[in-house]
Subunit: 331 residues, 2 copies
C-alpha cells in the first residue's frame, strides 16, 4: 500500500534551520517561502537523511518530470509544433515543390491558425514532413538550427529560454542530493534531447519521450538511423509509467507534471512504499506566464486538481509560489 | 567516416609499463597476456588519456554488451528458455489444469527436447504462459525464485554463476575508467534485470532488451504493470542500434557481442568518429565451455568472423585469451 509523504515536523525544522542560519545557501532561491517550498525541502531532507526511517539509497532516488508545461512553457501551442510549421517553411525555401497542400502552404506562410484548423490528416502530414524522411542526426541539426533562430511569438524569447527558473533550481538541487533526474514527456524523444542537456542538465539517456519508428540504413558510406512516418510509442497518460518501467526499470520516488497526461506517472510514482512526492505545476499566472487548467486544448488538468489533495500531491501555485518564472536571459 | 581503432605503440607501452612496474594491479587478471588483452588496455588508455587526440570525455564513454554468449553462457539453449520450461512445470504443480497441450505436458515433465521440437506455435505458447499474465513484479519474483533453485544440466552451476569471469573484470575495469556499461541483448528486459545488477554491476536503467507489450492496471489496491502476450520490440540485429538510439541517445564507443545478431551494434558503434573498439567473444573452448560459431541454432557467427579483421574488430579466442572462464563459486 502507498505510504504518502507526510510532513514531519522535525524535517521541516531541519530545513528551516538550514535556511535560517544560512549554513547553506538556499537551493531554491526562486521559490517563495510558502508551503510548497517547505514540503519539497522536507521531502528531500527525509529521503536523504540516513537517520530517517524513510531514507532512500542514492541509486533509488529517481525523479521524473514532464516537459511541456512542467519544465518549459507550452502556450499557445506545444513548441514542437512551432518547429514543425517553421521547418516546413524552411524546407520550402529550397524546394517549393513540397507545397502540395493548402496546409503546407499555410505553414510556409507562417499561418499557424490555418495549419491548426486544417484537420487531423493535414496536421499529421505537417508533422511527418518536418520530423521524418531523414536521419536522427539530420533531424537534430534542424531542431538545433530552429532553436537558434526562432523566437516565441508572444515573449520574443528563444524557446529554450522559456524554461521555468524554479524548476531548473529544483533539478539542480535534486541532483546535488544524488537524485537521478529524468524527463518523461509526450514530446518527441529526439526533439527534446537537442536541448535537454544544455538547458536542464539532463543527458540524452535520461530523456524519455514519444517516438516514431526508426530504421537502420546501411546504404550510405556510414550507417544511419532514419526516422519513419509511423508512431512507435505515445508517451502520455498510461504510457508514462510503462515507459518508466521500460527505460528505467525502477519506480520513481518523485514525479512532477502539470496536466492529466501526467496523472498516471504521479500515481505510479507515489504508490510505492516509503516517502514519495508527487507534484503538479498549476498555471495560475496570467501576468508572467499563462493561466489555464480545466479547459483548453493544451495541458488540461481536471482529475489532477480534483484528486491531488486526497492523494497528498503538492499543487504548485505558480503565481504565489514562484518569485521568478523565466530565467533572466544572459545580457 | 569511421576511424578504426589502431594500436598506438605509445598506448601499448603505457599499458605494459603499468603492468610491468606493478604500479597498478592488473585490472584483467583472468585474461592471458595476449594481443586481445593488449588491445583492450590500449584502447581504454587512449580514450581516457587527456593528452590523447582520441580522448573521450567521461559522459561519452558508453560501452554496450550483448548478454547471451557474451556475458554469460547460452548453451545448450538460451537460459531464459530453461526458465520458461521450468516455470510451466512450477505453475502446473499448483494448477495442473494448465496442462492442455502436449508441449505444456512435456515442459511439466522437464522434457526440453520435446518442447523444442513441438513447433513454433507451441513454443510461443510456453513463452507466453511463463512470461505473461502477471505483473512485472510477480514475474521478476518468479525469475528470482527460479535462479535460486535451478541448476544448469551440464555444469550443475546456478545459471547466474555461468557468467564469464574475464568479462566481469572487463565491466568493472571500464566502470573504474568512468565508462557507463550497458547490456543490449535479445533477452527479455525484465528477465535480465533480475540479476544484472547483482551479477554484472549493471543497474536496471542500463539494461536494454527485447520486450513485450505491457499495460497499466489500476483495478487492484495499487496500480501494477501487467505483461501481455504480444511482442513489443525485438532487440536483435538492426534492433540493437535502434534500441541504443532510443534508450541511450548516444553512440557507444565500445561494443561487444558473440554472434551475427550483434553485428549491427558493433557496426554502429565503431562507425563513429575517433577511437572505437568492437569485440567478439569467439566460443573456441570445448573443454571449459563450448566451441561453436558458424553452425548451430544459437549464437551463429558467420558475417562477424568474415568481416571482423577488415573492420578492425577484436575477436577474442576464449581458449587462448582467457585463463579462467567461469568464476570460482563462493564457498
Amino acid at each position: 500500500m502507498s505510504k504518502r509523504f507526510a510532513i514531519r515536523p522535525t524535517a521541516i525544522a531541519g530545513a528551516l534551520l538550514v535556511c535560517a542560519t544560512g549554513a547553506l545557501a538556499d537551493p531554491l532561491p526562486s521559490w517563495n517561502d510558502t508551503d510548497a517550498k517547505s514540503r519539497i525541502l522536507a521531502f528531500v531532507d527525509t529521503v536523504t537523511d540516513p537517520q530517517s526511517s524513510d531514507y532512500v539509497t542514492p541509486d533509488a532516488r529517481i525523479a521524473t518530470f514532464d516537459n511541456d508545461g512542467t519544465l518549459w512553457a507550452e502556450q499557445p501551442v506545444y513548441f514542437q509544433l512551432f518547429y514543425a510549421v517553421e521547418q516546413v517553411a524552411e524546407m520550402a525555401k529550397t524546394d517549393p515543390s513540397i507545397l502540395t497542400t493548402d496546409a503546407r502552404k499555410a505553414a510556409a506562410n507562417g499561418d499557424l491558425k490555418a495549419v491548426l484548423t486544417s484537420g487531423k490528416e493535414d496536421l499529421i502530414d505537417i508533422l511527418a514532413l518536418s520530423h521524418t524522411g531523414r536521419s536522427v542526426e539530420e533531424f537534430q541539426a534542424d531542431v538545433a538550427a530552429w532553436l537558434d533562430t526562432s523566437r516565441h511569438p508572444k515573449t520574443g524569447l528563444r524557446y529554450d529560454q522559456m524554461v521555468y527558473q524554479p524548476m531548473l533550481e529544483l533539478l539542480t538541487f535534486l541532483r546535488d542530493q544524488d537524485f537521478d533526474t529524468y524527463i518523461v514527456s509526450g514530446g518527441g524523444i529526439h526533439f527534446m534531447r537537442v536541448f535537454a542537456e544544455d538547458v536542464y542538465g539532463i543527458p540524452p539517456e535520461h530523456v524519455i519521450g514519444s517516438s516514431i519508428v526508426t530504421t537502420y540504413d546501411t546504404s550510405g558510406a556510414t550507417p544511419t538511423i532514419q526516422k519513419q512516418p509511423e508512431l512507435f510509442f505515445n508517451d502520455d497518460k498510461e504510457g508514462k509509467p510503462l515507459a518508466i518501467d521500460r527505460h528505467i526499470g525502477r519506480r520513481p520516488i518523485m514525479a512532477g507534471g502539470n496536466s492529466d497526461g501526467d496523472f498516471q506517472m504521479l500515481e505510479w510514482s507515489t504508490s510505492g512504499d516509503g516517502a514519495r512526492l508527487g507534484l503538479y505545476v498549476h498555471h495560475t499566472d496570467a501576468d508572467r506566464e499563462w493561466a489555464y487548467d480545466r479547459e483548453g486544448h493544451i495541458g488540461v488538468l481536471n482529475r489532477g486538481l480534483d484528486e491531488a489533495e486526497q492523494r497528498g500531491w503538492l499543487v504548485i501555485d505558480m503565481a504565489n509560489d514562484w518569485s521568478t518564472v523565466f530565467p533572466t536571459p544572459a545580457k
